[in-house]
């Protein structure tokens, strides 16, 4: 099953990238997430590994994931190593006028399980899509807030020499 959701944020791609590249931010914007932990010494970048858990229905699903694409400032993609088979991607594309489109792609599959597996895959779509939409809304809020903070900082820095 593959689900795509996207949002347009009022911030340049660089700001979006810096926000998404920091693993500490994932607990702040990913909806339904109950656990996010860096596994190993590598905090981010290609090959970084995280243990994640997201509540879907009666279970927390997730496992170990590994970053398999780290193409600044365009793409971050990951694959599952253990746990529920899935892959995900944040696709970041500038749209001009200081705006950026973030596409959140998520594909998952239930191994085996026969008809129950197919039903579970379909039944989980609503829950997963809802979480992706809420995550993007949160992400948009956080990134735009960060962008406003950066602009204020820049204005202050520009005024500082004039006062002296």
């Amino acid at each position: 099953m593959r689900i795509n959701e996207s949002t347009l944020v009022a911030a340049p791609a660089g700001t979006v990238w810096r926000y998404l590249a920091d693993p500490e931010n994932y607990l702040r914007f990913l909806s339904g997430i109950t656990h996010w932990e860096v596994v190993g010494d590598q905090v981010n970048g290609l090959g970084a590994r995280y243990r994640i858990l997201v509540r879907v229905g009666a279970a927390e699903v997730g496992g170990l994931i590994e970053m398999v694409e780290w193409n600044e400032p365009f793409d971050i993609a990951w694959h599952s190593v253990t746990g529920v088979d899935h892959r995900g991607r944040f696709r970041i594309r500038e749209q001009g006028a200081g705006r950026t489109r973030i596409e959140y792609r998520f594909a998952y599959g239930v191994v085996g399980g026969g008809i129950a597996g197919i039903l579970a895959e379909v039944a989980a779509v609503l829950a997963v899509r809802g979480q992706m939409r809420r995550s993007l809304r949160q992400l948009k809020r956080q990134v735009e807030h960060e962008q406003r903070r950066l602009e204020v900082e820049r204005l202050r820095a520009a005024r500082a020499p004039a006062r002296q």
């Binding site: 229905g57 009666a58 085996g112």
Partner: protein
């Protein structure tokens, strides 16, 4: 002939930890997830209280007659939280393990026939082990005692944790006793029929359950009502830290059951209606 049957039965009851099959468990998760999410509206809280890197003795209250839906829900939650790769074993009554088809599936799920030795072997191999000290006595208690911890004074789990040197993690669950209307344990009936001697059964439960109506014994199980199941994992109890180097079994038993009863009372207080939750 009798010897042959006895040999077959005892070989079925042997604890073979390697019978657990992670691929089988992974493939059974979708069905368990569907049932848990949509039929039982299950909620499993605070699984993070189970230490991720060491064996522990999980001690639960047993509910639901012979259809122990909360065990399946907990197993689903455990497997998705920690991954099917992490070994996890449950102890079950000999009759369940020896059953031809269901017994095989239980063994693949990591279930071992209930004995001190089997649990010790699993803990020594580094796996968390789930036990239900109340066993058949507790799981067949009347529905109106659904929010009562009743281990019938069985303290073997304390000695097991002490022998293995592992912490106890209490697991309380509510809703299982609403999957049928359990009327009586039928303890006197079981005694009169000498089931205790012949089949290690102290009860011959009587309930009203689907699809049978009046259900005596619950040997063939029943179709559970869609009762909301809520399970809560309590913080681990480190016996040596809590009770010193030589803990008293009675003190540990009292603490564990008291903590479980408090947590179960809180879960019961959240429920507004039977079955609906």
């Amino acid at each position: 002939m009798l010897g042959f049957l006895r040999e077959r039965l005892s070989s079925r009851l042997d604890a073979r930890l390697e019978d657990r099959d992670p691929d089988f468990i992974r493939e059974s998760l979708p069905l368990l997830w569907l049932l848990s999410t949509f039929y039982f509206r299950a909620e499993v809280r605070d699984l993070g209280n189970v230490p991720a890197d060491r064996p522990v003795l999980l001690v639960g209250n047993h509910s639901g007659g012979n259809v122990i839906v909360d065990t399946f829900i907990f197993s689903l939650a455990f497997s998705t939280h920690f991954g099917v790769e992490r070994p996890f074993h449950q102890l079950a009554h000999n009759l369940a393990i020896a059953w031809p088809l269901a017994g095989g599936m239980l063994r693949k799920s990591g279930t071992l026939s209930a004995s001190h030795e089997h649990a010790e072997a699993a803990l020594a191999a580094g796996a968390p082990v789930l036990v239900y000290p109340g066993g058949d006595w507790e799981t067949h208690r009347p529905s109106w005692e659904g929010s009562r911890i009743d281990f019938a004074g069985r303290k073997g789990f304390v000695q097991l944790a002490l022998d293995a040197g592992v912490p106890i993690v209490p697991v309380v669950s509510i809703g299982g006793q609403e999957t049928a209307l359990f009327l009586s344990r039928g303890a006197r009936l079981a005694q009169a029929l000498r089931l205790d001697r012949h089949a290690r059964l102290k009860v011959l439960p009587i309930s009203l359950a689907l699809p049978w109506g009046l259900n005596v014994g619950d040997f063939a199980g029943h179709l559970p009502l869609p009762a909301k199941i809520t399970i809560e994992v309590l913080p681990p109890i480190d016996l040596e830290r809590e009770f010193g180097p030589d803990p008293d079994v009675d003190d540990v038993y009292d603490l564990v059951t008291a903590q479980m009863q408090d947590a179960l009372d809180a879960l019961a207080a959240e429920r507004r209606f039977p079955v609906i939750g």
